[in-house]
């Protein structure tokens, strides 16, 4: 009997002593309004093999402010995962490089901090690129480069890029396929759907509304019908449906079986390496006379919320993305900076490929950066595939996708 009583007593004692434990409050907060002390060193994580474009700017910054800057190259998509662990342990960087569609999740997790820059600084960059780096009304970084799919053609088969996509339906240009696009991948297909009037999330003056998905509106359905027509008329082979489509398209283009393709700037060098004399142009117009509104991707520099010198880190971000340093970076890495003045600079205006990407970027829309976007890719791609294979008509497929996107957002993105 005694033993029976002893146990609850022991637990009660243990619980009582537990109440007193835990971390002790750290004393004192930051004093506001004081100019931040100069740190000895700032660390910046740059994308793999792109450090060469930032080196000179960093040297100039070190000279001007007397702060040492450590440049480390890390694969861009790994940086988020690394920051999670290194940031907490204090070994993390002050600045990271990341594509803009990660901004929402990163900001939600609290891994990156909002930055304060003047309106003049913001005006240096195209509006769409600044929008891409803004989440929930706060600007989180400054743009480094922009990219979007364009029209790539084989100059040996096609003299110049056509005006409209329909021109490509009639002529084969001496190849098996006049034109190929990975239109069962929503990243590429979005341009057609939204060019016709569909949209992913309603854009409410720069804020995206995840409760309003517009893929199944009249424009979206018309867009998917147009995409499906390419498969139905046998212009696109069935083998470019699904997960291996991208590789198959690359193979068909480099073996000269396709005269032109829709692809992004990352593909230019591999195509040239394969011995194709490529021409690059903005995408031809849709049958309704509108431009293809491709997704724009913006890479940017962001300040880690673990950084102890956020003000100086912001200064460094501003410095390396200013007009002069962006120009140097373009020369070294060929990644196009969305700096307004550079777009008209001969260095870009006279470069066929860069100009095509720059023009197409102005016609596109930034890929949504809110976390709800993660729920769009698979259902949207499924709808594209169901319609392209003729298993379902466009209207039904898209309505099903929107229903599923809404359902997924509701279950996976409950905000509390």
């Amino acid at each position: 009997m005694k033993k029976l009583l002893a146990w609850p007593l022991t637990f009660a004692l243990a619980a009582g002593s537990l109440a007193a434990c835990g971390p002790k409050e750290e004393e004192g907060g930051k004093e506001a309004g004081k100019e931040a002390d100069k740190p000895k060193q700032l660390t910046i994580w740059e994308d793999k093999e792109k450090g060469i474009g930032t080196q000179d700017a960093i040297k100039a910054f070190e000279k001007k402010y007397g702060i040492k800057v450590k440049l480390e190259e890390k694969p861009m998509l790994d940086q988020q995962e690394k920051l999670r662990l290194d940031g907490r342990s204090g070994k993390g960087p002050d600045i990271i490089t990341t594509p803009h569609d990660r901004v929402g999740p990163l900001a939600l997790e609290g891994l990156i901090a909002p930055i304060k820059v003047s309106d003049e600084t913001k005006k240096l960059y195209t509006e769409s690129s600044i929008n891409a780096l803004t989440y929930d009304g706060n600007l989180y970084g400054l743009p480094k480069s922009t990219e979007t799919p364009v029209f790539v053609y084989n100059k040996a088969l096609m003299e110049k890029a056509p005006e409209t996509l329909d021109e490509l339906k009639g002529d084969k240009f001496g190849a098996e396929y006049s034109y190929l696009a990975n239109w069962t991948d929503f990243y590429f297909a979005h341009g057609v759907l939204s060019g016709m009037g569909g949209y992913v999330f309603k854009d409410d003056n720069g804020t995206l509304d995840p409760s309003d998905v517009g893929l199944a509106n009249d424009g979206g359905v018309e867009g998917l019908d147009y995409i499906t027509s390419w498969y139905k008329e046998g212009l696109f082979p069935k083998g470019i449906i699904g997960k291996d489509a991208g590789q198959t398209i690359d193979a068909l283009f480099t073996t000269k079986k396709a005269a032109s393709v829709m692809n992004g700037p990352w593909s230019f060098q591999p195509y040239k390496d394969a011995g194709i004399d490529i021409g690059v142009a903005p995408l031809p117009k849709l049958p309704n006379g509108e431009y293809v509104k491709t997704f724009i991707g913006v890479k940017g520099y962001f300040v880690s919320s673990y950084s102890k010198n956020q003000e100086w880190a912001t200064k460094l971000v501003e410095f390396i993305t200013n007009e002069e340093n962006s120009k140097v970076r373009f020369e070294k890495t060929a990644e196009i900076p969305p700096v307004v003045k550079l777009m008209e600079d001969p260095i870009i205006a006279d470069n066929e490929a860069a100009k095509a990407v720059a023009i197409q970027s102005e016609r596109g829309v930034p890929m949504p950066n809110i976390p709800e976007m993660a729920e769009v890719w698979t259902p949207a791609a499924n709808a594209l595939q169901l319609s392209a294979t003729g298993k379902s008509d466009a209207q039904k497929a898209l309505e099903g996708a929107v229903k599923q996107i809404n359902q997924n957002i509701e279950t996976n993105h409950k905000k509390k």
Binding site: E26, L108, G239, G242, T378, Q385, N412
Partner: protein, 420 residues
């Protein structure tokens, strides 16, 4: 009061009982160990226990996931400490009992010899076991505990805190339509997949082994080598090549093989039914060599006399196979065959590399060929549903563990060793 009771009571503070028993060195060693335990681990235990109960109170200062980790470590340390404490009490009481009975206690030298002699196996197993706690038990505990939290994108540290939610995740899986429907259909296909693919690969393996083992067959070595090749090529390479072969408009299977037979192209990648057929075929191809190699080994050890006796009794070839060969094979290999089933139940590679769980099925959260494990993967990677994925993993583990336990209990080879 007997010595036994006194010694045990004194050992409430570790070591005192031993000192009371006049085992000075052992006693002071225990006392020292206990003292250092509290000095060294005080902070870890303090933070860890507070952390695992609250999972943090202030965002940014407290990181819930790290606190959970520290909490689990604290629990493990407490378990080790309690084990030591229990041993200390037991030791004091046993030696007290000896004094009560007037038996002389072990001298220092004898104590040392006992430890080295009787404790030797434990000393050897010790380091490995200790490592096991951190590389096996620790992650499992972490995963199980995660299933009872609300850890997802919107409750991600450092900006937010993770909270305990009890069995809410399990309730959601069965109560919300989207989750329940997907779970049931994925689970059903997982079972069908496991049984059909594994049974087929086992049947083919045994059949080929028996055929190749026929006495009058020439070039046995060559034939065996050829048959074992699918095993020699890394599976993920074979799967990627198969995925190319099955491509609907360029793949060799539709373009060359079926076309030459005058059969229309089959939608291997975009029709769920044919995708499933293709997957079962690929897995059989990948899996049969292992079963065949194993069966061949068993066949060599079946005594020839059995067959001779059967021949004398007038048994046909099929009778011999049914009554001698097959029982012998299954008896010897059953435990390994069952692990083949559990392996396929969790065979992520072939599902993911062939078609990434596709093709899509309208009105469902997972693809047409997604099995539980590949579904969990996409849940974690695309939707950051960490706690839900952990909950489904717990459900999945229940199945695997049940099968494994049943398997080990039924198998004689594991039983005999249990009684040392």
């Amino acid at each position: 009061m007997t010595y036994q009771k006194k010694a045990m009571l004194l050992s409430v503070i570790p070591g005192l009982g031993q000192i009371f028993n006049k085992q000075w060195l052992k006693g002071s060693l225990f006392l020292l160990l206990a003292a250092s335990y509290f000095i060294v681990f005080f902070n870890t235990l303090n933070m860890g226990l507070w952390g695992i109960v609250t999972l943090g109170e202030v965002p940014f200062r407290d990181h819930s996931v790290f606190l959970l980790v520290e909490g689990i470590i604290a629990l493990i340390i407490i378990a080790i400490g309690l084990g030591f404490y229990a041993f200390n009490l037991y030791d004091a009481s046993q030696n007290g009992k000896k004094r009560d009975q007037g038996i002389a206690l072990n001298t220092l030298r004898e104590q040392y010899l006992t430890v080295v002699d009787k404790g030797f196996p434990y000393l050897m197993v010790g380091p490995g076991f200790f490592l096991l706690i951190f590389v096996v038990i620790f992650p499992i505990l972490f995963m199980i505990l995660l299933a009872f939290t609300n850890y997802d994108l919107y409750h991600s540290p450092p900006a937010k805190l993770v909270e305990w939610v009890g069995i809410q995740n399990f309730i959601d899986i069965f109560a919300l339509d989207l989750w329940r429907e997907t779970f049931i259909s994925v689970f059903a296909w997982t079972i069908i997949w496991t049984f059909s693919a594994t049974t087929l690969q086992v049947a083919i393996g045994i059949f080929l082994a028996v055929v190749v083992n026929q006495k009058d067959l020439k070039f046995k070595g060559l034939i065996r080598t050829l048959l074992i090749l699918p095993w020699a090529v890394p599976a993920f390479v074979s799967i990627l090549i198969f995925s190319g072969l099955f491509n609907e408009s360029f793949g060799a299977i539709n373009m060359q093989i079926l076309a030459s037979l005058g059969i229309d192209s089959i939608e291997w990648m975009t029709d769920p039914f044919y995708s499933k057929i293709a997957l079962i075929f690929i897995q059989s191809w990948l899996g049969f060599p292992f079963v065949m190699a194993m069966t061949t080994g068993v066949l060599q050890s079946i005594p020839e006399e059995l067959y001779e006796a059967a021949t004398v009794d007038g048994a046909s070839t099929f009778d011999k196979f049914k009554a001698i060969t097959l029982p012998m094979i299954l008896f010897a290999t059953a435990p390994i065959l069952i692990t083949q089933y559990t392996f396929n139940f969790n065979n992520f590679n072939v599902i993911y590399l062939f078609n990434a769980g596709g093709p899509p099925v309208a009105g469902q959260n997972a693809g047409g060929t997604d099995i539980l494990i590949s579904w969990i993967y996409s849940l974690t990677m695309t939707s950051s549903q960490y706690s839900k994925a952990a909950a489904i993993t717990v459900l999945l583990s229940i199945v695997i563990v049940t099968v494994a336990l049943y398997n080990f209990r039924k198998t004689k080879s594991f039983k005999d060793e249990g009684t040392i």
